[in-house]
């Protein structure tokens, strides 16, 4: 049911996109206005969400560590998994962001039939890590590759990336490795939510919707490249027009382009209000981005109220004369 709901939502969006693609009068809306709106919603919404998160208090030192902490000099510290310096934290975060270090340590838990009844057993589970890694890296490379439509002249790095991506030189236009990888990976991530009972149980429409969106974006892109071709030069003119704030709408681009860009726009607009915000959120994970100096440094709760104190010096200042008269010794004369 949850799957069906997301699926129908995406189908509805594709139908809207198709309508926009085939009605020429709507091309201005679908090719220019919606992309601008989506971009503004993406960047604005992203910043709003991050600032909102940033305002929430982080009272405790809660780094979760998986290595030997700094201790006696002859005990070797794990400087990355239990960092006591900013550099260690940066390396740790980079490992997390670029290689999904904590997902790599994912384990699965199973009840097995043992000799004396069921036994709890743990095993490594790397498939999710592998699937995510392929998915995210392919996505990143695809986004960078798309810069060839937005930049003129095209930077050398983008061209290199593209030629590496198409290095197998299969077919014409050459098949991109990342296109295949992202389809396989996103299909895996989807099937996992269908076939693993525990994962299915906790999956929500908001989990399936982005998967279907990304799947349909990838498929529309592939269809556009190989089957329902569009006029690339016109597409780039439109893209540069958007980037220079002098939008142009060349004629005869081809309907597939408008379907693709509409779906991409929806994903971008949806981004800040969805789980996709883990892109920004990962940097704000307190269990990962904190230096593990819980007991090395005194940490004070940032919202501790100002406690009114009356120190002995103040007390003595106040009662000094009376104390002297009563013969009580004072520290300052």
């Amino acid at each position: 049911m949850k799957v069906l709901f997301s699926f129908l939502a995406v189908i509805l969006l594709i139908l809207v996109a198709t309508m926009g693609a085939f009605i020429t009068n709507l091309h201005f809306v679908f090719g220019i206005i919606i992309p601008y709106l989506a971009f503004a919603m993406f960047v604005g919404g992203f910043i709003y969400r991050v600032v909102k998160w940033g305002r929430s208090p982080v009272p405790f030192r809660i780094p979760t560590t998986i290595g030997q902490q700094k201790s006696l000099p002859w005990i070797k510290q794990n400087k990355i998994e239990n960092p006591t310096s900013a550099f260690g934290v940066i390396v740790r975060m980079a490992m997390e962001v670029l290689f999904f270090r904590s997902l790599f340590r994912n384990t699965k838990t199973e009840l097995r039939e043992g000799q004396n009844g069921p036994e709890l057993s743990y095993g490594s589970a790397k498939w999710l890590w592998l699937g995510s890694l392929f998915f995210h890296w392919s996505f990143l490379i695809i986004i960078i590759r798309h810069l060839r439509f937005f930049l003129e002249p095209i930077p050398f790095a983008v061209q290199i990336l593209e030629s590496v991506d198409g290095m197998l030189q299969i077919g014409l236009p050459a098949i991109y490795l990342t296109d295949a990888f992202i389809l396989v990976a996103v299909t895996y991530l989807f099937l996992r939510r269908i076939f693993v009972p525990q994962v299915k149980y906790i999956s929500l429409p908001a989990d399936f919707f982005p998967l279907f969106m990304i799947m349909s974006i990838a498929i529309s892109g592939i269809l556009m490249r190989y089957f329902y071709k569009v006029d690339l030069v016109a597409v780039k003119q439109l893209a540069i027009g958007l980037a220079t704030f002098q939008p142009v709408l060349p004629t005869g681009i081809g309907p597939m382009f408008f379907i693709h860009i509409f779906l991409v726009s929806i994903l971008f607009a949806y981004f800040p209000m969805s789980k996709l915000m883990h892109m920004g959120g990962i940097f704000m994970s307190p269990t990962r981005n904190m230096i593990s100096n819980n007991r090395m440094v005194r940490h004070i709760n940032p919202w501790n109220p100002e406690v009114e104190v009356h120190t002995y010096e103040q007390y003595e200042d106040e009662f000094r004369e009376k104390m002297k008269k009563a013969g009580i010794p004072v520290e300052k004369e």
Binding site: V43, I47, V50, V58, L172, K229, V233, K236, Q246
Partner: protein, 160 residues
């Protein structure tokens, strides 16, 4: 806000990354490639000959597949005649059919075309040139590197 400085710095980096296209293209003119579809070579042809091998729309979308097909026909099957969708016959040849019209003004000297390895004063055959402008204008614009010139290159001895 806690760690406000770091968060704002990161957000500025984020915004900068996603607005690269705006800054990169700032002040530039949105000029598409200059495709010469009406060169002197084409104008000299009789009106009936001015139509390309297939329709412009077809060529725009499928020229790479057509060239691939031509290569297979000519190099692997020994077939040198292409019959287009209107039943018209063309010789399967990149140099003698495609580049007859689609070459740059300066490079399309017939004498050079007929003799690919001729060494006349460094004027190179467009087919052997790194990038004849007709192809390059669009291909550079959208960063698509054709593989034509990895075979159709001028032997180094020819330029000596």
């Amino acid at each position: 806000m806690y760690k406000g400085g770091k968060i704002f710095a990161s957000l500025i980096i984020f915004a900068a990354l996603f607005t690269i296209p705006f800054f990169y293209n700032m002040g530039k003119v949105n000029a598409g490639p200059d495709v010469a579809l009406n060169t002197a070579a084409i104008q000299q042809l009789p009106a009936s000959e001015q139509q390309c091998v297939e329709s412009p729309e077809f060529m725009r979308a499928n020229h790479m597949q057509l060239l691939n097909q031509w290569r297979e026909e000519a190099v692997r099957n020994g077939q040198t005649v292409y019959v287009n969708s209107q039943g018209k016959e063309f010789e399967i040849s990149l140099q003698d059919t495609c580049l007859k019209c689609h070459a740059t003004e300066s490079a399309s000297k017939p004498a050079v075309l007929n003799n690919p390895v001729s060494t006349t004063a460094g004027v190179s055959n467009p087919a052997l040139n790194e990038s004849p402008e007709f192809c390059a204008s669009c291909h550079d614009y959208s960063a698509v590197k054709p593989l034509c010139w990895s075979c159709h290159f001028e032997p180094k001895e020819a330029t000596k």
